[in-house]
Symmetry: C2
Subunit: 421 residues, 2 copies
C-alpha cells in the first residue's frame, strides 16, 4: 500500500446553516497534518459520491475559499438522502465503499450527518475490519433536530433555534401592533417531526421584558384541541393577541399528524408541511379571530445570516476534533460537545462511541415542557439560552451575503466501473 | 386658542420593519422645535386613538427609548386597519377628529401609512379648512408593497426586499445541496396582492456568481401553467433544481387568485395566503419532483434583524422631513424620496401633493419583467439594487434583538365623550 493516506468527507441528509463550518474545520485541520493526510476528497452529493467514485478534489480549492465555508450555509459538496441498511442488506454498498476507499488510498472516513449517518459510519468501521482494510471512521454530528444522544447539542440546531426565536419575537411585535382591529393570531410552523427542540426554542422569544403570549405545540404531546382553544382565547382576552408556534410533527389523537400529506422521503419518514394552515383554520372556525400564518421550512435551516456564533464555533470545533481523533488513531467514534456549565456557558469536546449513538433519538425531556403542555420551563430555558448566544454575520456585497461556491473539481477515476445505486 | 401647539402622529395599516424609524424621525425632530411643537401625541392603535381620544403622551418616553424606535420593528403605538371613507360618507368621523384635535391643541397631523392613509390625510386637511380649524396634515409614506406613486420607494419595502433576496439565496443554496436525491424544487410565497415589487426583489438573489435558476410568479401577469411547467422542467434539467418565488396575488385565468380563501380584510381586500402550497402541488402532480415550500408572511415585514440600512435611513429622513415641512407651513403633502442617481445611489427628499398621491397604485413597470414573464430585467435590477444596500443590525442581548417596548401612557381625556367606531 502507498504511504499516501487520503481522507474522505461527506455531508448527509438535510443541510444546515453551519454544516459547511464543520467541513471547514475538517479540511483546514487536515491541511495542518500533511504527513498524515495528503488530501481530503469530498463525496459529490454525499455518500453517493463514494459509491459512484465521484470524488471532489478539495486541494483544488484555495485557502480563502475553504475559509469561506465557515460562513456559507447549505452543503458545499452536495448532500443526499440515501440510507445504507444493515450490513447484511446493504453488503454490496459497503463493500463498494471499501473498494473505492482502497483505490484512492483513503484511510479516514468523516461522515457529517444525523442518526442515520452515525449508523452508516459505524458500519463502515465494522466492514473495514471484516475486509481487513483499516479505516478510521469518525462521525461529525449535524442535525437541526438536535436529536442525537450524548452530545450536549448538534451543530445546526443553535442557529435554527436563534432564527426561530428571533422570528417569533419579531412577528409577535407585528401581530401585537395589528391586533386591535385586524390580525389577532400569528401561527408559525417550524421543523421537528418527532423532537420538539426547534419549537421549544421559540419560547426564548418571550421573557420578563418581552411578555409575549406564546403557545407552543410540541410533537411530543397529543394536541388537546379544547385546552388549546381555551388558552388561545385567554391570551387574546389578556394581551389582545396570541402567537403560536407549531412543530411540523404536531399531532392529534392516535398520532395523526395535523399536516399529514401522505408522502414519504427516501428514508421512509413521512414528509410533512402544512400544520400552520390547519391550526389557523382551527382557530378561525372555533373563535373567529383573524389569523396570519407562516411556514419557515428551509428558510430556518438555511438562515446563515442570523446564525448563532456558539453554533458556528461548535460546528467548526467538531470538524477539527474529528480529524485530530482520526489522526490519534480513533475509530467508530463521534466528537461531542460537553457542557461544563450553563452560565457562563462553558463547553469542551468529548467523544462518544458510535455504537452508543446510532439510532438513538434524543427527545425533549418531560421536565422541559410546562405542566399545561404549551410552553417551556426554566430548565429548558437554561439549556437553550447559551446555544443561541452571539452573532456571526457573513460578509455582504451589494446588500446580500457573499457565500462561496466551490470549484468542486472531480478526482480522476481509478476504478472507473459503474455502480448501480 | 392657547399658544401651545401639539402634534398628532399615527401609524396605519400593515406595519413594517422600519415604520418606527419614521416615528423616531418625527418625534426626535419635533423635540428639536419646542417652540413650534410642544408635544407629540401618538394615536393608540392608529387613527382609532384619535377618534376615541385615546392619545399616547410621547413626552413620557425617554430620549433613549425614542432612539431605540429606530431599530424596533412593528408599530410601537399600535396600528389599525380602519378606513375613513369620503368626506360625505364619513363626515362624522372627520368632524370628530377635528373636535379631538381642537380639544388637545393639535395643529399638526402626521399620518404614517399607505395609499388609504394618504387619502385620509388629504381629507383631514380639507375638513380642517371647511371647519376653519387649521391643521397641517402631512403624510409619511410607508408600505412594504412599494405601491405609492411619486416617491422613488416606500419605507418598509427596502427591508422586505432585502429579506426576500437573502432568504431566496439561502434557500436556493439549500435545495441545490439536496437536489440529487431529494428536494428539487423550493417554493417561497411572498407578499404582494397586486404589485409584484416584493416578488421582483427575489431576483436579486441570483447574479453572475450565484447562478440560481429562479422563476418569479408576478401578480401582474396571468400564470400560464404550461409555460411555467416547461420552465421548471428545463431548470431542473440544466441545474438540477429550481427555486420559485410566488407573490400572494399570483393568479390564473380570469384573475382567480391561486390562494383565494374567500375572506376579506377590513378594507375589503381579499385576504390571501397559501399560493405556495398550490404551486407546490401543481409541480408535484405535473412533474413528480419532490417540493418544499415556505410562506414568509409576517416574518418578511417584521425582519428588522436583516433590515436594509438604506431603508432605515430613508424611513427616518421622511419622518424628519414631515416635521420640517409642517413647521415650514406645508399642508396636504407627503415627503418623498427622490432618486438622483442609481450608482452610486444618491437620493434626497422631495415633496408630493396628497391629491396626486391618494388612491394611485404604482405597479411594476412592464419593462421590469422579462419577456417570458418569469424574471426581472436589468432595468429592474438597477432600480432595486440600491434599496437593499447596507446592513443596520439592532443590538442583541442574550442572543436576541433588544427591541424597545414603550410605556405608552395615556394623555388625560378632555372631551371624555364616547365615540362609536
Amino acid at each position: 500500500m502507498a504511504t499516501v493516506k487520503n481522507a474522505f468527507y461527506a455531508q448527509s441528509g438535510g443541510v444546515t446553516a453551519v454544516i459547511n463550518a464543520s467541513a471547514c474545520g475538517v479540511i483546514e485541520t487536515a491541511r495542518q497534518y500533511p504527513h498524515e493526510i495528503t488530501n481530503v476528497y469530498a463525496g459529490r452529493n454525499g455518500i453517493i459520491g463514494a459509491l459512484t467514485e465521484d470524488l471532489i478534489d478539495t486541494r483544488e480549492e484555495s485557502a480563502a475559499d475553504i475559509a469561506s465555508l465557515r460562513y456559507t450555509p447549505s452543503g458545499a459538496f452536495g448532500s443526499c438522502r440515501f440510507k445504507l441498511q444493515g450490513l447484511e442488506d446493504s453488503r454490496v454498498e459497503y463493500e463498494r465503499l471499501i473498494e473505492v476507499f482502497k483505490a484512492h488510498n483513503i484511510a479516514y472516513f468523516f461522515y457529517n450527518g444525523g442518526g442515520d449517518s452515525a449508523d452508516t459510519c459505524h458500519k463502515v468501521s465494522q466492514i473495514s475490519a471484516q475486509m481487513a482494510y483499516p479505516i478510521h471512521a469518525i462521525h461529525v454530528p449535524k442535525t437541526v433536530d438536535n436529536d442525537l444522544p450524548i452530545t450536549d447539542v448538534c451543530p445546526g440546531f443553535g442557529s435554527v433555534a436563534k432564527y426561530i426565536a428571533v422570528a417569533t419575537r419579531e412577528a409577535s411585535f407585528d401581530v401585537c401592533s395589528m391586533a386591535k382591529t385586524s390580525t389577532k393570531i400569528f401561527v408559525l410552523e417550524v421543523m421537528g417531526r418527532h423532537a420538539g427542540w426547534v419549537a421549544a426554542a421559540a419560547g426564548l422569544a418571550a421573557d420578563e421584558y418581552n411578555r409575549i403570549p406564546l403557545i407552543i405545540l410540541f410533537p411530543e404531546l397529543e394536541l388537546k384541541q379544547e385546552d388549546f382553544m381555551r388558552k388561545v382565547e385567554a391570551n387574546v382576552k389578556e394581551y389582545g393577541y396570541c402567537s403560536i408556534v407549531v412543530a411540523e410533527g404536531a399531532h392529534g389523537p392516535a398520532g395523526k399528524f395535523l399536516a399529514e400529506q401522505g408522502t414519504h422521503d427516501a428514508f421512509g419518514h413521512a414528509q410533512l408541511g402544512g400544520a400552520a394552515p390547519v391550526v389557523a383554520n382551527m382557530i378561525k372556525a372555533a373563535l373567529g379571530y383573524k389569523v396570519h400564518w407562516a411556514v419557515a421550512d428551509y428558510l430556518q435551516r438555511a438562515a446563515r445570516h442570523i446564525a448563532s456564533k456558539t453554533d458556528v464555533e461548535q460546528a467548526y470545533a467538531l470538524g477539527k476534533a474529528a480529524v485530530e481523533m482520526a489522526i490519534a488513531g480513533d475509530n467508530a467514534v463521534m466528537p461531542t460537545v460537553r457542557r461544563i456549565s450553563d452560565e457562563p456557558y462553558v463547553w469542551d469536546i468529548g467523544k462518544a462511541k458510535l455504537e452508543d449513538v446510532a439510532n438513538v433519538e434524543k427527545r425533549l425531556p418531560k421536565e422541559f415542557i410546562t405542566a399545561d403542555g404549551f410552553g417551556i420551563t426554566e430548565a429548558c430555558r437554561r439549556y437553550l439560552q447559551p446555544l443561541i448566544e452571539g452573532e456571526d454575520y457573513p460578509p455582504y456585497e451589494k446588500g446580500l451575503p457573499k457565500y462561496v461556491i466551490l470549484k468542486n473539481k472531480a478526482v480522476k477515476k481509478i476504478l472507473n466501473t459503474t455502480f448501480k445505486l
